[in-house]
């Protein structure tokens, strides 16, 4: 069996979620690596959009910014952030990958602050950026993140980016576009989705080398369990080779 690290595993698993001919709004780092890998493995027609305005570039290598020259290198269009977000809001963008310092059982994300007063926080974080926008507009929001109890918390300090809000139908009652919402959470230990009624996070597959107990022990809230929990298919040699040789040869991301 192939040898791989945590980041490589998450990227390979995430890349399989992106189907051919779909559109994805991605950022830098792991999400971009997953999208590039998908294009080179199962989804050659995957269309990548960057929030700063790049549409479907022929990415020569990983961008260091969602607005650097690579994000519109040989692109089909170099446009504005407004147009990218409007395209998402019109319903043209299928997937987005996001992250955050904290996430709750409904997939709500915090990237704004931890502790203290809002005007004088203990720890200030970057804020929404385009995360709240992508999560509101794209059909399926996914998260790639290492799993531990400090990230997976009962209550986030600040809801920067919408998940299923308070569960049930609360996301749509709040006014967000119908049919959108968190789809999959991919960690070093497992893959989770959300139970259709309660919209609570649910384990659907466990990664090689981890147990159900590991996953729950490293989560600050109770995880639901799918009727049938499968084993996450490990990265194939082909996935690893392409990821290491073509997608991230300088190990910017997989070297972390």
């Amino acid at each position: 069996m192939a040898d791989y690290n945590t980041m490589e595993l998450m990227i390979c698993v995430a890349s399989r979620e992106l189907d051919d001919g779909a559109t994805a709004g991605v950022g830098t780092g792991a999400p971009c690596a997953a999208a590039m890998l998908a294009q080179k493995v199962g989804a050659p027609n995957l269309i990548i959009m960057f929030e700063a305005g790049g549409i479907s570039p022929l990415l020569p290598e990983m961008p260091i910014s969602v607005g650097d020259s690579r994000t519109f290198y040989k692109a089909l269009m170099a446009t504005s952030m407004g147009e990218i977000m409007e395209t998402c809001c019109r319903g043209f963008v299928d997937y987005t990958f996001l992250g955050g310092a904290q996430m709750d059982m409904y997939g709500n994300l915090n990237s704004t602050k931890i502790g203290g007063e809002h005007q004088k926080p203990k720890v200030r974080l970057p804020g929404s950026g385009g995360a709240n926008d992508f999560a509101s507009f794209c059909w399926r929001m996914m998260v790639m993140t290492p799993q531990d109890s400090r990230r997976f918390v009962e209550k986030v300090d600040f809801v920067t980016t919408p998940g299923w809000i308070k569960g049930g139908n609360s996301r749509y009652e709040a006014g967000l576009p119908l049919g959108t919402g968190p789809y999959k959470i991919i960690t070093n230990m497992a893959v989770m989705d959300f139970e259709p009624e309660s919209k609570r996070m649910r384990i659907i597959s466990i990664n090689p080398g981890y147990s159900l107990k590991d996953v729950q022990d490293n989560c600050g809230f109770e995880l639901l369990q799918a009727a049938k929990i499968t084993d996450t298919k490990p990265p194939t040699d082909q996935e690893l080779r392409i990821l290491r040789e073509e997608v991230d040869p300088y190990r910017y991301v997989i070297g972390r």
Binding site: G67, G82, C89, G127, S128, P162
Partner: protein
């Protein structure tokens, strides 16, 4: 109009389009030479207490030379649009230039990491803040550019981002659905770096626009820094390529490499080692003070700064890096 929910954030600018109209009514439409040194432009159009917005996206096509000059001239108590800001934000925090901030993305330098200096400043309590998103601020500029007091978006609802913003949730009279009314944002002054401009301020931008088209239209005053000047005849040869018309612009400053150490697509790539050095130097306050003295305060202008960091040889290296990425485009 019935408001279903509203954020508690304060608006730092007035969204009233009639007040903006009254200002624009008296702004000159004359085709006149607006060429001036960057130092002069900052003196004339950037004032303490006003609301500032910076074009570009973080360290991409961002008027870094202008940010340094603002620090040298010691501007204070400004409002700032923390919109897709990264290295520009890092610089302005180092100078504690603003004490009011609309936040979409701050502190971070994307994949490069976080700025300790900017983070400390934003945790100091010295800055009054209001939360938004990248698209929310773009939508606020869109409203101002259209000369109305708000535009609708479908983001932010159901989150604390809305609760700490200045947005209001309203019910659509056609569909009964909820939307966020994003109040128009009319900055007092914006600074935008472009590829080409004529002496009147007609500008061309290659590659992504980000939000600079609407930013220029929404702003009461606009300073343009440009990689190069082109004759007005060249602008008139291809009017389709004009992105910013002259009547929006107050000052045109020719600043080659004006986005250094950031990326200027089709011109030069970012100086990543220098940006790393910058981030690193922030770990030690004394070290950082010295770093700023050397790289900003003791520099006469952007070219002193470039000289300190490799001069023309470095610029050529960065051109090669960009050229590598854009062989066909550059030759095309």
């Amino acid at each position: 109009m019935k408001v279903l929910e509203e954020g508690k954030g304060r608006l730092f600018t007035d969204p009233d389009p009639d007040k903006a109209r009254e200002f624009f009514r008296h702004k000159s439409r004359k085709l006149e030479n607006k060429l001036m040194p960057l130092k002069t432009a900052i003196e004339k159009f950037v004032h303490d207490g006003e609301y500032l917005a910076i074009g570009g996206f973080g360290a991409n096509r961002t008027p870094i030379a202008a940010c340094h000059e603002i620090l040298r001239q010691g501007r204070k108590r400004m409002g700032f649009a923390g919109h897709t800001s990264t290295h520009d934000f890092q610089i302005l925090c180092a100078g504690e230039v603003f004490d009011k901030c609309d936040i979409a993305y701050i502190i971070g330098l994307e994949a490069r990491g976080l700025s300790n200096c900017a983070r400390k400043y934003m945790q100091s309590g010295k800055v009054e803040i209001c939360e938004w998103t990248n698209y929310a601020l773009a939508a606020r500029l869109r409203a101002a550019a259209a000369g109305v007091s708000f535009t609708l978006t479908r983001n932010m609802m159901g989150t604390d981002t809305l609760s700490y913003s200045g947005g209001k949730v309203i019910e659509c009279p056609f569909t009964g659905k909820k939307f966020v009314a994003q109040p128009a944002l009319y900055p007092d002054i914006s600074i935008i770096h472009v590829h080409e401009a004529d002496i009147y301020g007609n500008c061309r931008i290659k590659g992504i626009m980000i939000a600079d088209d609407d930013l220029a239209r929404a702003s009461k005053h606009v300073i343009i820094t440009t990689e190069r000047l082109v004759p007005n005849e060249e602008i008139r040869r291809d009017p389709t390529a004009t992105r910013i018309p002259y009547y929006l612009v107050d000052a045109v400053c020719e600043v080659p490499f004006g986005a250094y150490p950031g990326t200027m697509a089709y011109e030069y790539f970012s100086d990543e080692p220098h940006l790393k050095e910058w981030l690193k130097s922030e770990d030690d306050p004394e070290k950082f003070k010295a770093f700023l003295q050397k790289n900003i305060y003791e520099c006469k202008d952007h070219y002193d700064y470039i000289e300190l960091n490799g001069g023309i040889h470095k610029m050529n290296e960065l051109r090669q890096k960009e050229h590598m990425l854009h062989k066909e485009v550059a030759n095309g």
